[in-house]
Symmetry: C2
Subunit: 252 residues, 2 copies
């Protein structure tokens, strides 16, 4: 027999419940499935943690919106431990990004329609106009620009993978990502590279876009290596203390 969570999913599909629709009450569902509310709640909590349902205390349980990017982010949560345990994990991420960002830019140059191009220009301007003293906004706008390229590539799988890679980078070296924008004179260089990628895509020049993206990623990786190398030493010394803090928090 299928697991309870799967049976609930099947029920959603069978009833054609759309995002935002209200689920039957827990007591009703429990009766319908002929299980206790406890067991039903365990199953519901699994679906909630997977982002398929949303529970509101006193309000009800609703089908969540399949947020195109959100499922990928939650999907990567199990990898957090792995990403944090291996210090060089971000290098693996960047190695793949060097490959995929090139292909993404190439596809985008070939396939971007007018709506894609409008989004790309908008995203580029957001990066260029981001306040120079706000690394947080810089990082978000930068990621949004690359995600706009991924969207313009018109490949759902590629889009999801790129979203995942950004998430993994965020997890493994979020601090260094912020500090990247503090390097002297780097904003102009990044903007220049972004502009070149943008122009190549808008012009439909796939090969040039590929090369521009490859150069950009190589540049970013080299700078991140500088930052991360110097940060690794300090981090190592503070790890023991962190463990104690975690134990304390777990028992709080």
């Amino acid at each position: 027999m299928a697991s309870l969570a799967e049976r609930i999913e099947a029920l959603i599909a069978a009833r054609s419940l759309k995002p935002g629709d209200r689920m039957p009450a827990e007591r009703s569902l429990a009766a319908e499935f002929q299980v206790s509310r406890s067991s039903l709640r365990e199953a519901i909590q699994q679906l909630v943690s997977r982002g398929l349902l949303i529970s509101r205390h006193g309000g009800g349980t609703f089908v969540a919106a399949p947020d195109e990017a959100e499922p990928v982010r939650t999907a990567l949560l199990p990898l957090v431990s792995l990403a944090q345990s291996e210090a060089g994990y971000w290098r693996d991420v960047m190695e793949i990004r060097k490959l995929l960002d090139s292909d993404t830019a190439s596809f985008a140059a070939l396939r971007a329609d007018e709506a894609d191009k409008a989004r790309l220009v908008s995203a580029y301007q957001a990066v260029a106009n981001a306040p120079a003293d706000d690394p947080e906004t810089q990082a978000r706008a930068d990621a949004a620009f690359h995600m706009a390229i991924a969207q313009a590539a018109h490949n759902a799988v590629l889009h999801q993978i790129m979203a995942g890679l950004h998430g993994l980078l965020e997890i493994s070296i979020s601090d260094s990502l912020r500090r990247l924008y503090d390097l002297p004179g780097i904003l102009d260089l990044l903007n220049q590279q972004h502009r070149q990628i943008l122009d190549c895509i808008l012009a439909g020049n796939a090969e040039a876009a590929r090369q521009a993206a490859a150069d950009h990623l190589t540049f970013v990786e080299s700078r991140l290596r500088l930052i991360e190398d110097s940060a690794t030493r300090q981090r190592r010394s503070s790890r023991a203390l962190q463990h104690i803090a975690e134990e304390k928090e777990a028992l709080s």
Copy 2:
């Protein structure tokens, strides 16, 4: 305050529990966290569904092995609906595989150590020796061979992505994947291509490996397109009946 599931994760980290280690009993943990066993179980079930824990009835709850591939497979479950709703989803998957499998083979040729090469040879032989009349075993051995290449590429992220892509393919066109091996004379062709990829990797010839993998994937995609195109028509007509069956199963 952190969620209960997070507090449990923190406890695992703080206690340095390794895969296979036994978790405290539910009743003990509930007392330690000062929550009811019901609430604790809801949190534990979330971690179980995410593959971090394994519960054995009567035996205890154990920390799961970070199976390198398994978390990705469960992580992709939220994408099932998307994979199934879009008929052409598998084309996106194959498009990315054409790119990544080439790079994977290239990396493997450059980085494979003796243990990797032994695994590759073993995996290849498993494919070549799989019974010709057993598509299920064929498909599994084939996937295992490609995963061995991904492992030999020595990039954790790449390995996870490849595992995810195989999972997505399995979800979207598992039937066609099985029927692939029924095409007349295809086994010899596939084995020949696999052999070429293997030889190039063993010889350390990165460029040849890349080309061999690219040719292989292009070939497989063309054959899958033949099968899938002819299958699409029939599937469409039986979809209505399937929904009824799901409703029935959900209430069973």
